[in-house]
Symmetry: C2
Subunit: 216 residues, 2 copies
DNA sequence: GTCTATACTTCGATAGAC
DNA sequence: GTCTATCGAAGTATAGAC
């Protein structure tokens, strides 16, 4: 306890995040993870037992963190629409901070939950649950039109993950001059998404940012 | 020419689609592809040369087909908003017909374009190009507000791909009773997405389905 | 064009000393 | 807890007969 004992497990998880994000479960190499983490491969097995267990542990942590932040947003006192803005901000910030997050999430969806055990699936589902709660509350308050919370979740998370994960491809395409010279800035895209969600959730199509003046 | 000669290449591509969609490039096994296609592994190499070349060929075909259908929609004479509805329908139909399509597309985005050569990247980019053209035309006509075509593309394609690709996970979650008992139907979700896109693109927030009655 | 057998490589995992 | 050495399975690809 005196000395700041080895933090091998954390270093391994960081290295695993980087490795799994670029190649997925099957593309990841245990040797590379160990090398990146600057630990011996045997050490990795000593701590995590297997490649699969390491993978699950990593994903559980990622999803738990995202869900936790969303719950914090939901526990705040902002108005429903502002809460959704905040939720998008929070996820976007997390995703840009940990660039491994969007690719890993997308791939796990594409994978159909193979590799995952029950605990990890629970952690994964806690993300839509936390966001859905925010939407459901807005609907109950009449601030949103009656939208299915899970539909709203997909409409929000998918563009965010795909746009952020596609950054390398966009770069490649623009380098190869394969696409028009008008790229979209990340911040612009996030603002666009927030606007889109507001429009999607607005209870009355005629009601803009302005308060409804109880016309009639 | 007399007899309907072997269609090995096509059978191999079908088998490859199934195999690559579940495991990605690294998870796919050449042996399994050959077995599914009921051809010998050597035959597969005879026709395609390598696992990577087979993969690229497959992706090029998928993307080309999607882009082609989008171009057909764009060449029609529907109004811009209806065209976007049609575009969503077309992609959704293709994705449900070929269930391998959404997972493969998501994974390739997550992969950041590794495994892809220039031709395949071109084919991939032709999809956003075709959809972007529809949006750009709507903007030019004043039927849509000035939205970045690529932003619009991501807002449309991402929920569609993610929602459809997530079907296995949703099933698993509901089987395990990990999620509320109010699932969303696929058709409902597509309708939701079409509505969301209409709201996103509407030039005037006060303008509903009704014609603007030049109030003021 | 088709098939069998196999070469060659890579990778996940462990044994066993310290 | 840490490291070296290595096993054994699995996987891509090819050689060569028909």
């Amino acid at each position: 306890m005196a000395r700041p004992a080895t933090v091998s497990p954390d270093r391994i998880l960081s290295a695993a995040a980087a490795e799994f994000s670029t190649g997925g479960f099957d593309g990841a190499r245990v040797d590379r993870i160990a090398r990146r983490a600057k630990v011996n491969k045997a050490m990795l097995y000593y701590h995590f037992g297997s490649k699969q267990r390491l993978y699950r542990e990593l994903l559980r942590r990622i999803f738990a963190q995202v869900a936790e932040r969303l719950r914090q947003v939901g526990a705040g006192d902002a108005e429903p629409a502002a809460m959704v803005d905040q939720a998008i901000d929070v996820i976007a910030r997390l995703a840009r901070e940990h660039t491994y997050f969007p690719p890993i999430m997308l791939r796990e969806i594409a994978e159909g939950g193979t590799h995952l055990d029950r605990d990890t699936l629970t952690a994964l589902s806690s993300v839509p649950m936390a966001f859905g709660a925010i939407v459901a509350r807005g609907v109950a308050l009449g601030a949103f039109r009656p939208v299915h919370p899970i539909a709203a979740y997909f409409t929000m998370i998918a563009p965010l993950m795909v746009y952020l994960a596609a950054a390398p491809i966009r770069r490649e395409l623009s380098d190869a001059r394969l696409v028009n010279p008008a790229p979209i800035d990340v911040d612009e895209f996030i603002a666009h998404l927030q606007q889109t969600m507001r429009r999607m959730l607005a209870p009355d199509y005629r009601d803009a940012a302005a308060r409804p003046r109880t016309r009639r």
